[in-house]
Amino acid sequence: MTESIIGHRTTRIDGELKLTGKADYAADHNLLGQVYGYPVPSTIARGRLVGLDLEAARQSPGVIEIIHRGNFPALQHSDNNPACGSEGRLFHSPNTMAEQNKVGEARLPFEDDGIHYEGQYIAMVIADTFEHARAAARLVTARYEEEKAVPGLFQTDDEGEEAGDEAVSRGDPEGAFESAPVKFDHTYTIAMETHVAMEMHASIAYWDGDRLTVYESTQGVVFQRNAMAQIFGIPPEKVTVIAHYIGSGFGSKLFMWPHAVITAVAAKMVGRPVKTVLSRQQNFCSAGNRPASRQRIRMAADRDGRLKSIRHDSQNETSFVDAYTESVGSGTPRVYACDNVSVSQRRVEVNHGTPTSMRAPGEVSGSVALEIAMDEMAIELGMDPLELRRRNFAERDPSADLPWSGNHLRECWDDASRRFGWEKRNPEIGSMRDGHEIIGWGMADATWEAMRSHCKARVELRADGKVQVACGTQDIGTGTYTIVAQTASELTGVPIERIEVKLGDSTLPAGPLSGGSMATATVLPAVAGATRDAIEQLKQLAIADGAPFEGKKADALTFESGALSDGNRTLSFAELLDKLQRGMAEGEASAAPGDEQDKFSFRSFGAHFVEIRWDPGISRLRVSRVVSTIDIGRAINPLTARNQVEGAIVMGMGMGMFEETEYDPAGNIYNNNYADYIVPVHADIPDIEVELLDNPDFNFNEFGARGVGEIGITGMAAAISNAVYHATGKRIRDMPIKIADLIAS
């Protein structure tokens, strides 16, 4: 047996393509006869569109068509038409969509004359070049009846609407709070954030008769195919969505946004392929965001630090055109042992584009408040913050009467605190100094639910000696191509160089969204099943009449290092297929979560230890060290897994110190570009020492992998804020922490 490639640091199989520019991202495609779309955004945040003057734009060079409410095909609300499409209209509102075809914003483009946020599309110009389309778009003038906008959650008194399905309650949180000796009631806020993935949203659509093909930068080719089929009232088989490579999405590309719908309509109207690439500014307005949130935590403990009550009541922003719920408190009932817990969530409508999932949606926001609150409780008790967490370790999942499949939080604490040197911490505020700088040490826990979904895959053992794996999921830059190849290599013994992986095409066997940290646990079991099935098919071919192993029993044959053997004779699958004059042996499989879901609670845990340096003389705050230990079950590829955690830690720094999508009092976005929307740059990023524990979770799947994309961001901003408190004595409950919060004037 060769050494296992699962769990081996494996460089990305698509790395060379990306480095040499050969990886084809959505906007890289250029189709014959292609023309270009450029959206015209609303310049007001709220009101009504009462007139559009398109004349100047029509006269502008290269303009082919301008799409707007006046010529957009009518919508068919499925309420009026359960048969969906029987009245012959083109569109179907996605408001009754099934699970697998969710869209980012339920309102279809141009559906009404209302303006619900700045940047909402009011038209799209189609022209022969991108430059012509953009120039003409600038010539469109709109007349509005403007209304006073709700600029954001923190500028309105609206309490919002309760999201009932988020409510959790156990025990008697109120009574327990009243009778507990140590308690507090604090409010925390987190600013709206934007995903700002490097690659812009882009869509290319063309119709061949009634067949639609779309190149999209999407985290879900199958979802988008289904959504397009629903909207256009055509069978999903007539829609193909392709996303071979994605320049990241962080959630903003999970669900389809209005530009894709307009582009597909435009392609139909002009009878040519249409390419739309959103500008950076448009990426900020109409392709999702992490909504601002406000959280109230009432926490109580006994003098020994045992949590007696947690009430976690949150609000998140949503738009006026969809009801997006951010499950802010979803981790709170699960992470710590506490008998009396309640969680609630409300949505407040504001004039922003519709929010969507952003890396660790909900839980990361909740973790910021909860993990700062834990620090505050430790201070109240005069207890070490790590010790407080140890005293509240949850032996079982307290929210479901289930044992953990694997909760290795204690190992994470031990490992990370040792590597960090936590025992050397002087708890006194401002006590650790180095030259001009005051050093602060803080910690927080990280956690993310482990999820798994349905997946199909196909594997071909080919006469040319290659193995091809196909699955209709996609690689958003996380390394899915590579772990799929590792899996096929492991099970066939064929070196990874001879494994070909096809992803990012909705015509392949249906795969999952790349989101929720579930792709690994979802896809690999299907790939493994298909590989085994292909080997079985090969054996059947090998023992058939006239075949080299004629007469043998299939289970008497072994398959190792890509070769079939009966003990005497060994033939590689290529040789065998060649002798059989066959092109390939093909296997397929489908995998889904099973009854393990009823037996265990699946969740990953970790711990971040953070050192900050605060230079009060120049009000400079920076993170100087991060030590994190995370348990994600088995890391299929420690190289890419670590990369995910490091990236998430950097994003957590962004949340804690920099990122804030700002809307001014008029409801207009202020910082819709990379210069003004501040994310960490290399110079901000300190040494990040990540350790991944290796505790395979075989209850979850045969590879023991839980998933790694999101957990690293949870808790990070809290750990920074806790470290800032240790350095400065200032408790910052509003993220991001700004110079103005800390400066001693």
């Binding site: 003389g617 009000s619 700002e662 003004d676 740059v681 290399h682 110079i739 400066i743 001693a744």
Partner: protein
């Protein structure tokens, strides 16, 4: 972005002739600021005159000790020039805190002097802005103004001048040479950028068709050391929230001569004679630096979001002075 005509000039005379005093024409050098603004649709030139072929890429030491810098010298070449490193380190440091390597490699000296404010209301044609469209109002006054100026503002405009390089030059003292239809003229660097007052659209003492050909730095102050300190949210690739260029010559423990210029807080690259007066002849102590900082910011006016810049600028001044005097 709208279509425009493009012409390339071979020498200074041709450049000014091609431009004429046509209001709809602009010079283009590195293009890092101009093209950006054209794409944002806030500059709509009908004609661009490319000056990149002009023979203005040299740096020349003059006999009187001054340093004459061609308008097309890139920010990178200037920052790493041996005389700049040796005699004007504050300028080198200032330039290297700005933008990114890639941008500095193409950004030119004159382009940097001419770069326009990053005020987001200025950069969005849908918003009111007196600088872009006189009389339309100032979006920043009632809007978000965290990045805006606290020195030199008016009730018409509070936009900050974004340059780091200019702050270094302001501290060092320099002269701009301008060539135009009326011939050649020199103007002190300090007088070149204008306060917004009632005419925020008028940013410099440059007339249509005039071209900057050189910036000449004053001879270095004997025995002086310099330091540029830039404070911002993140460690790199961000415009200053507050910055200080300090040039100090000591005489024993006393300050013989000091120059203080500020970035990120003024509507123009801000030379603080008040701070300099507070330093001159005084002992180089923290207390003196504090007094200088107070003097520099005495006239500061804050708006809703930018009050923190006043203490931040003072901190930049004090630390820059402490650093520069500690070196000796």
């Amino acid at each position: 972005m709208r279509n425009f005509d493009y012409q390339r000039a071979g020498d200074v005379a041709e450049a000014t002739a091609l431009h004429g005093n046509d209001h709809s024409a602009d010079f283009i050098a590195g293009g890092t600021n101009l093209i950006d603004m054209v794409k944002l649709d806030i500059m709509r030139p009908e004609r661009l005159v490319d000056v990149n072929r002009l023979p203005l890429t040299g740096i020349e030491s003059l006999d009187d000790g001054r340093l004459k810098i061609g308008a097309l010298v890139t920010n990178t070449d200037l920052a790493y020039h041996e005389r700049v490193l040796a005699d004007y380190p504050v300028l080198s440091e200032a330039i290297l805190t700005g933008a990114s390597t890639q941008l500095r490699n193409v950004a030119t000296t004159a382009g940097n002097v001419m770069q326009r404010t990053r005020c987001p209301y200025f950069r969005n044609p849908a918003r009111p802005c007196n600088k872009r469209e006189p009389g339309s109002g100032c979006g920043a006054l009632e809007g978000i103004n965290r990045n805006h100026a606290v020195l030199g503002t008016s009730d018409q405009c509070i936009a900050v001048h974004p340059s780091d390089m200019c702050v270094g030059m302001q501290a060092l003292g320099a002269t701009l040479t301008i060539e135009g239809p009326g011939g050649t003229r020199d103007i002190p660097f300090e007088d070149y950028h204008l306060l917004p007052g009632d005419t925020p659209e008028r940013e410099h003492d440059l007339n249509d068709g005039e071209l900057i050909t050189h910036v000449t730095l004053d001879a270095p102050i004997d025995g002086a050391r310099g330091h540029y300190l830039k404070l911002r949210d993140r460690m790199s690739y961000e415009f200053a929230l507050a910055s200080c260029a300090a040039v100090v010559a000591l005489d024993g423990d006393a300050i013989r001569e000091a120059r203080i210029a500020l970035g990120g807080v003024g509507t123009k690259p801000w030379r603080s004679h008040e701070a300099e007066a507070a330093l001159s002849g005084q002992p180089a102590t923290e207390e003196t630096f504090q007094k200088a900082a107070e003097a520099a910011m005495a006239g500061a006016v804050a708006h809703r979001d930018n009050a923190f810049k006043i203490p931040l600028a003072k901190q930049a001044i004090v630390r820059a002075l402490a650093t520069v005097t500690a070196q000796s």
